[in-house]
Symmetry: C3
Subunit: 294 residues, 3 copies
């Protein structure tokens, strides 16, 4: 993993760090990298985040020394809020397709899942919509027991989730729980997410960082080839075929332009969407406020 | 959803209700319907139940306004006991096939699973055999923590379960737990059913109705198209192919006619099958009493 | 199930027992058999164990009366430690292939999974590596809540697990938890194994034997054909295709011969591998001690 603003010492094992607009990267050793989301106020995902993550995934894929990447957040209340079109949907449309031929967002998630590296989501705070889609594309997910809210709120706003959670949750938690998460579209806290298998497990908040560090440090010492080949065998059984992803994203884009959904989006912004608001803190419960009375 | 005994106001949003022999239907709004099983003494499923449910599923499928159907029971001790041939197996045989080309029972379960509507089993009391098969065909399953017994007792009576639980449980709870449920053939209480993923979760009995009402009311307000399309994507990944169902039902019918199983069925009726008996209350444990000593 | 050292009374229902080098067999009745691993000091699996288990599986497959086989251990601290090449890898290589055309180890696991008999792993103590692979090939897994450690430590030693856990765990516990078990390669205790679905459930140690006996005795009374056909339907949905197994075993053998892994194996033996040592008791945690400092 190299980048234009790192020194040649990058592969010496010495710690180094570099930043992008929406996250910073701490290369703790040749085999261990930590990525910290930091996009105030609530870590929304925008076209910029997607472009930067796509670049990062490209570096991860090509790095022969890297064993493990941990993704955490600088904001204890928000891991990755959800997607924000930033009043300019054309920027999202302009992201184009990635090497898989799929839209940049789907492309980077699929490539992260297949990379010969263990990706770990260390979740503290909220991860909804595309934030949830990101953690579902990671290999391992650990959540703060006291301070996590996960969910796919899209159906509550009248659209289909676009970044693959039907494909991933169906395989991860089974039909009944996947349908509940996707259709009831409410938040799951840490214990519920653990019970449903949405995350590997919930960990007491004051132990989360220590446990993730222990897991990552352990993985960093293992043989790269043993990790890569073993993961590849699991990939063959568990990863959705690429063909499952694009139709739902096309539905998402189409449904988002319908007048009713545009009105609902506007109402959500009035209520505080994309800001550090009560709406964002309790979005799973409060999303219904954006629905006009029948 | 319309029926001959409802007024044209059915779609006005006003509550209405109608009844069949084995359940009543309360149309709470255009988008929300509640079905309450009420077939004393223990909510057995008979040829009549199947015919009435098949009609109901047809109405559900064609209703463009309906988002959610909750199935509950008027009897707190029995949700749906199991199938009862009513001393007249010819009535069950005469049910014929449904639109999918499968036997009416398989047909209605498959069509309910695929309907563009969220079906919710609100389980209080016992649901075994075909009662369990019905809840497995629903999209979401919630069970009273204190007052639920779920099971597939068929193997204990010397036959293969016929209504698809091998196909559905294998995908829902994984091989090990599916084999235990099906082969050990004992009852699971609410906490165990939750732990195994047989139900989405167990809810304290005095909270069950309130929680289900909150979930259903929420779903009733959502966009129908968003629900239907999102569910359809999950269906594509999680529903068994139709071809898995008929062979096991054929096995069930064939094995049921064997002399040993006929004798065992007779013994179960002597012990209180199909009545509100201690046998029915503890059928999972007591089914072995119908087996002759080796 | 018959063997050369059993009397013709084997099928009379009377209890009988016979022994092999690494386990003893207690035929409690025509329909119920118990196999107890007893290979001091820590129940390693060797070429001898594989040959003896292969013979046993052949007997199980052909026995028309047998309903249930319970596998337990004479050593409360070790169920099946893991594979031991006994300083003679040629013996393992010489095991050849079984009737499925696969290596003897894969062959016996696959055939046990498909046999028309319920196989139950009653786990007390440690089961790692091929010990874990064995329990994963059983139909039902129950673990002592207080005294179980399960794991696939292979990646920690620089090799791919060879006996199918990628295929089986991926389907049993889902992608995220399977990747954690296989890549982090640490031990899971009873409660964690239950939570992840690695075992059906954890049972209080002082209740384990009683509960397993109740389950096995119950299964022993059931109709053989009902068990066999019902299991077969679950097999069709849940068993991995045979083609998934050989490539990982080939990887295992290849990687094991690399100098780095040979050195690591030697270091593990120095630390106490294959003996009743602290290393073996805490192998999941201590395996990293065999990795040279970077």
């Amino acid at each position: 993993m190299s980048t234009t603003d790192t020194s040649p010492s990058a592969h010496s094992g010495a710690s180094e760090s570099w930043s992008r607009t929406h996250f910073r990267v701490d290369r703790r050793s040749a085999s261990y990298c930590r990525v910290t989301f930091d996009h105030p106020p609530i870590n929304t995902i925008t076209a910029t985040t997607v472009a930067e993550l796509a670049e990062l995934v490209g570096l991860i894929e090509q790095d022969p020394d890297l064993n493990v990447v941990v993704f955490d957040s600088a904001n204890p209340d928000f891991y990755l809020a959800h997607y924000d079109v930033e009043n300019d949907p054309s920027r999202t449309a302009a992201l184009g397709v990635g090497p898989t031929g799929m839209h940049a967002w789907l492309d980077l998630l699929v490539r992260l899942s297949r990379a010969p590296v263990v990706s770990i989501a260390s979740i503290r705070g909220r991860a909804r919509g595309s934030g949830s889609e990101f953690v579902l594309a990671c290999d391992l997910r650990f959540a703060s027991r006291e301070n996590t809210l996960l969910g796919q709120f899209e159906v509550g706003t009248g659209v289909v989730p676009g970044g693959g959670p039907m494909a991933r949750l169906s395989r991860l938690v089974g039909r009944g729980r996947a349908l509940e998460i996707l259709l009831v579209a409410d938040d799951l806290d840490g214990p519920r997410a653990e019970q449903y298998g949405y995350v590997n497990r919930a960990i007491a908040d004051d132990q989360l960082d220590t446990e993730i560090e222990a897991i990552a440090s352990r993985l960093a010492r293992f043989d790269h080839e043993a990790i890569a080949r073993t993961k590849s065998y699991v990939d063959q059984v568990t990863l959705p075929p690429d063909s499952e992803f694009p139709p739902a994203l096309a539905d998402f884009f189409e449904m988002l332009t319908r007048p009713a959904q545009q009105a609902q989006s506007a109402r959500l912004r009035e209520l505080g969407l994309n800001t550090d608001s009560d709406l964002e803190r309790f979005l799973g419960r409060r999303v219904v406020e954006s629905i006009p009375d029948a």
